[in-house]
Amino acid sequence: MSEVPSELKYTKSHEWLRVEDDGLITIGITDHAQELLGDLVFVELPEAGTEFVTGDECCVVESVKAASDVYMPISGEIVEVNEALADEPEIINTSPYDSGWLFKVKPSADELADLMDADAYQTEIEE
């Protein structure tokens, strides 16, 4: 059973978002997503300073099975990326919600209400 922390927001394409105290939003892929992908071998992160709008392909995660795009869940500017993933992408497999985060975004609009909460995402992945 995949873990779905209740304090996070989710997308249909299996990204999670966490609002930090400083107003930045941390984004990663869910436990369910890493289970589907299997062992990750490569992560192509966006560059800090790049701006994206909701739905943009902003990042690629590659596993032994497949390469998969990560879609930007909200509009905003990338302010920090998780450099540790360059050498150890498997952190995402072991800790998808904590040390396996992908990047932090400074949001340019308030779109959080459009996202799913934990209950809705749980229902979504149960089909």
Partner: protein, 484 residues
């Protein structure tokens, strides 16, 4: 498993029993002669024979076992095609032979172009691409050249359904386009509403495989063609699954403007080791000037290569010469053997075999990715229930199949279907072979339910056991360290 160097013993050699005069090296200047002996393995003739015979026995091929690798069309390669393509006149011809002394080969290639046109409904064909990926590249480069020749420079986007082969978006990006993904409905058809919203003045074209990688025929192809053409885009046919429709329906009649055909798949030349292949490209009338070179023309009962002088708008050459002649010849001979009637039988038996296996899979309790639709030449089983209930993956099933003497089907593709096996039997196989494979799958399903460790530990019978895929993907440095 040992390398031949490990069999080496100093001073041993494989000199034939009849004496041979030593070759004279007097003509080679002293400073160019090597000082030390070459580091060659020193083995007897029998050791060499055994070593290479053992290696060949470790080969897995369509000549030895069933090879249902979905989307790859691993059909039987008739020996006669091989024999005829190896005639000394073909085999010893130099690629720079003047056209007038190469009429036999050129006649075969001209006829191959014509047969491909007839079989696919396209106006012209080029045999230049060396393999499928190069065929795709040539196809999209022609779409680009076509738009640019009309001053239509704003068409920067290629549409690709999410069920497509991964090569399609890669090709579009290689040719300088951006890619927009079009979703697929649960029944396997392209989402028409999403397609209609996606097209516009930026649309250069759509790349489509039909039947799709989901193993079903795209029923709305005529509507799709209309939507794309009305938006000013062109329609590209990925010929990966041509085997399913050969002699039945033609991409040209469906409205496609460009097609690449993997001759090594549909037209049965040996493949599976990474080449050589052939990705011949066909086009509708309006794209003819852009075909890659050289192509073969017939003028006054003589054949000759067309070059950039004849076709100034061509996208150019893709290699030094024209494709892989050995592969092209085998495909030509295969098509001549089949004839028009034979091509129909290829499609009918390929789809009959796939549909028989699909119904057997259902009867034996497997879950189909797309139920209640007829399969094309391949079909998909999803093992998501087995994965959930018994913690065995599609990969575990695939590895266990190796133990039972089968090549695994394609796994984890298409990406849309979780824990999937994509199974393509081809027309070559007898019912007994299909039943044997289904028995093996059913046995593995039973093992998964009763003793899943058997699956996790597979393969046990092969020289190489379960690979560390993460390490294989991340540490690409390989060095031979000797047998342990």
């Amino acid at each position: 498993m040992m390398l031949i160097f490990e069999h080496s013993s100093k001073g041993r050699n494989g000199a034939p029993q009849s004496p041979v005069e030593k070759a004279s090296v007097a003509a080679i200047p002293e400073n160019l002669l090597r000082k030390n002996s070459a580091a060659l393995p020193e083995v007897s003739e029998l050791q060499a024979v055994r070593h290479y015979t053992r290696l060949s026995q470790k080969n897995f091929s369509i000549d030895t076992e069933f090879y249902p690798l979905g989307s790859c069309t691993m059909k039987y390669n008739p020996r006669a095609c091989n024999t005829l393509a190896m005639l000394p006149g073909f085999l010893n011809a130099h690629p720079l032979t003047p056209d007038e002394q190469n009429q036999g080969f050129l006649a075969c290639m001209y006829d191959l172009q014509a047969m491909l046109c007839e079989a696919t409904g396209m106006a012209a064909f080029s045999l230049a691409p060396m393999a499928g990926a190069q065929g795709e590249f040539a196809g999209i480069a022609m779409i680009d050249a076509y738009h640019k020749s009309r001053g239509d420079d704003a068409r920067k986007e290629i549409l690709v359904p999410d069920a497509a082969h991964g090569t399609n978006p890669a090709t579009a990006v290689m040719c300088g386009f951006t890619v927009k993904e079009i979703p697929t409905l649960d029944n396997g058809d392209v989402d028409l509403e999403a397609l209609k919203l996606a097209v516009g003045p930026q649309t250069a074209g759509l790349m489509l495989t039909n039947p799709s990688t989901l193993g079903v025929f795209e029923r709305n192809i005529e509507v799709i063609a209309k939507v794309i053409h009305e938006a000013g885009g062109l329609l590209y046919y990925d010929g990966a699954n041509l085997n399913a429709i050969l002699g039945k329906i033609r991409p040209g009649d469906m409205g496609f403007d460009v097609i690449h055909s993997n001759l090594h798949k549909t037209f049965s030349t040996p493949h599976g080791g990474g080449g050589p292949g052939s990705g011949a490209v066909g086009v509708a009338e309006r794209l003819k000037p852009f075909l890659p070179l050289p192509t073969v023309a017939k003028e006054n009962e003589c054949y000759r290569y067309l070059t950039a002088k004849d076709c100034p708008e061509s996208i150019g050459r893709l290699s030094a010469f024209m494709g892989n002649p050995g592969v092209l010849l085998r495909a030509f001979i295969y098509m001549r053997f089949l004839g028009r009637e034979g091509m129909v039988r290829v499609a009918e038996f390929a789809t009959l075999n796939a549909n028989y296996m699909m119904s057997e899979a259902k009867r034996r309790g497997f879950t189909l990715a797309i139920d209640n639709r007829r399969a094309s030449h391949e079909f998909i089983i999803t093992l998501k229930n087995e994965a959930r209930e018994h913690h065995v993956s599609a990969m575990d099933f695939a590895k266990r199949l190796l133990d039972l003497g089968y090549h695994a089907p394609t796994t984890y593709f298409p990406l849309l279907v979780p824990e999937c096996l994509l199974i393509e039997p081809t027309e070559s196989e007898a019912k007994e072979a299909l039943d044997g494979f289904m028995d093996a799958l059913e046995q593995i399903k039973h093992e998964a339910e009763t003793d899943p460790e058997i699956l996790h530990a597979a393969p046990q019978t092969l020289p190489v056991k379960r690979l560390d895929e993460v390490r294989a993907a991340k540490q690409l440095d390989l060095a031979f360290k000797g047998s342990e």
